[in-house]
């Protein structure tokens, strides 16, 4: 049976759908600039910088070690992985898990994150719900079960209405998540208006590289380097080179 198709007043489109899109977008842009203003300087210690570079060097050794002579590769591998005094094996960093209690700057960071992101979303969601209440805004293109009705049709008291017809509050939430890609287009990557990324960060715990990771990272590098072999890329280089004449085009142009 076909459900009765509702015909919505086109004023709804003009005065509800579009304003909500604009509001969401502008709030996102404002959030981005506010987060830039409130950004605290993340100071790195010398040890952290040094460790990250060591890890990069070890990774480069694994990937591009084939371009240096075998002896040099083995020398470096020995330096990193030696049983007695290899760097990766024996360097233990003090592990201080950055919990909000012990680290005051983490606490303020979390608070700032909450204030800039979660609070406005709740406030504006509530305001939109109050302002644009009592009518149906739009229809989602896929059928929903009845369970979604109280969630998505907040102001509308119709028992027989299809759950696909949603109110303006749900249109607002749809916008919040949908405009994410618009933000990266306009504000560039890594922008402060990208809510889902911020929520992910909050869930994983710390925004900076955790110190506990360093020990684990060292161990992982040690294992990876143990497995690496040296396949010298220059084995047959002369033969390859001399298989054809040199290409001297454009050599002596001004």
């Amino acid at each position: 049976m076909d459900e009765p198709e509702l015909l919505l007043d086109s004023n709804i489109r003009l005065w509800v759908v579009l304003p909500i899109v604009f509001i969401t977008f502008l709030v996102g842009v404002i959030r981005h600039y506010v987060s830039i203003l409130l950004q605290s300087d993340k100071k790195l210690t010398l040890e952290q910088v040094s460790d990250s570079q060591v890890l990069i060097r070890s990774r480069i050794l694994r990937e591009n070690g084939k371009y240096i002579p075998k002896q040099s590769f083995l020398m470096r591998k020995f330096y990193f992985n030696n049983q007695e005094d290899g760097f990766l094996k024996n360097t233990k960093r003090k592990v201080v898990p950055p919990s909000p209690m012990t680290d005051p700057s983490m606490l303020t960071d979390m608070m700032k994150g909450n204030v800039t992101n979660v609070l406005p979303m709740i406030l504006i969601g509530g305001w939109i719900n109050w302002t644009f209440s009592g009518f149906v805004t739009t229809k989602v293109p896929f059928p929903l079960t009845l369970r979604f009705k109280p969630m998505l049709q907040q102001g509308i008291e119709l028992l027989s209405l299809d759950a696909s017809w949603v109110s303006s509050a749900s249109w607002y939430f749809l916008n919040v998540f949908g405009l994410r890609s618009m933000y990266s287009l306009i504000l560039g990557q890594d922008n402060g208006a990208d809510q889902s990324r911020i929520m992910q960060e909050q869930m994983s715990g710390a925004a900076m590289a955790m110190p506990a990771d360093t020990n684990k990272a060292f161990k992982a590098e040690w294992e990876a380097l143990e497995l690496t072999d040296h396949q010298w890329a220059l084995e047959g280089v002369e033969e390859e080179l001399m298989s054809r004449e040199l290409d001297l085009d454009g050599m002596f142009s001004q």
Binding site: L44, T45, L46, V49, S50, Q53, V54, I56, R57, I60, L61, N64, G65, Y67, I68, P69, S72, L234, V237, E238, E240, L241, M242, E245, L246, D247, L248, G250, M251, F252, S253
Partner: protein
């Protein structure tokens, strides 16, 4: 020569400066000419670009001993960015140019007190030692720096140069190996490494140098220096009494091939000259 550079149009001047800045050119006299005119005549049209142009022109002015211009630029930058470490480093560089090495060193120490991870200040301190001719100390300091910041390629290259000047070719080769690993497609590092190995001498090193000259040629067919290097190392190995017949034959083949390519290159250049 500088007359060719005096371009009248403002946007062209600004774009030239930007290109030199991005390509890291060290044509200080040209930068001073163009930059000075830009700053004096067109300061208002530059907007926020002017600060980075001040920095660029100041460094070029220090190169050309134009302390007056350097001082003006520094004052403007100090006024706009008080307490900035980048500006402090520029002030230190000016002291270095005036040979006031003690004061410059103190300046850099104050930067490092605020921010121990600042690499620019550390590197300037090492270049003070180099300017004073204390190469042994410079090498030691640079080694300590590299222990902390293993990934700094500029520093590895500088260290390899210092070692070459001290004729410590083994350690210079180590530094160049680091560079070759991080930049496997750069033919110049391969060629420099091959030259160091060739200078070290000994049959094994000569073989290595021949291989790396060949690699440099493979990466860039037009590297004449590598071509000559290939010829020299191959003929050296072939002429050595310690090699067996097969190795000798192979190296003679390589040397002949290199000779042919060199002849071809000369013919190409001769043909070009005739045009």
């Amino acid at each position: 020569m500088s007359k060719n550079v005096l371009i009248i149009v403002f946007t062209e001047m600004r774009d030239k400066l930007r290109k030199w800045r991005e390509d890291n050119h060290r044509n200080s006299e040209q930068i001073v000419d163009v930059g000075e005119e830009l700053i004096n005549e067109h300061a208002s049209k530059l907007g926020d670009d002017i600060w980075i142009i001040y920095e660029q022109v100041m460094i070029a002015a220090l190169d050309c001993s134009r302390d007056d211009l350097a001082w003006t630029c520094l004052q403007e930058l100090k006024r706009q960015f008080p307490g900035s470490q980048r500006v402090k480093r520029l002030a230190g560089m000016r002291l270095e140019a005036l040979e006031k090495y003690e004061d410059a060193s103190k300046q850099y120490d104050s930067i490092l007190q605020d921010d121990p991870t600042n690499t620019a200040a550390r590197k300037r301190k090492i270049s003070i030692l180099k300017a004073q001719g204390k190469s042994a100390e410079a090498i030691r300091e640079l080694n300590e720096y590299l222990e902390q910041f293993v990934g700094d390629q500029e520093a590895w290259h500088e260290l390899s140069e210092l070692y070459i000047n001290e004729h410590d070719y083994g350690k210079a080769a180590f530094c160049l190996e680091e560079l070759m690993m991080t930049n496997p497609h750069n033919h110049l590092y391969c060629e420099q490494y091959a030259e160091v190995k060739y200078t070290q001498g000994g049959l094994e090193n000569l073989e290595l140098s021949r291989k790396y000259f060949a690699q440099a040629l493979k990466l860039n067919n037009r590297n004449m220096r590598a071509l000559f290097g290939l010829y020299m190392s191959a003929s050296h190995i072939a002429a050595s009494p310690k090699v067996n017949a097969t190795v000798k034959k192979a190296n003679v083949k390589y040397a002949t091939w290199a000779t042919n390519q060199i002849n071809r290159a000369y013919q190409v250049s001769y043909a070009r000259c005739l045009l």
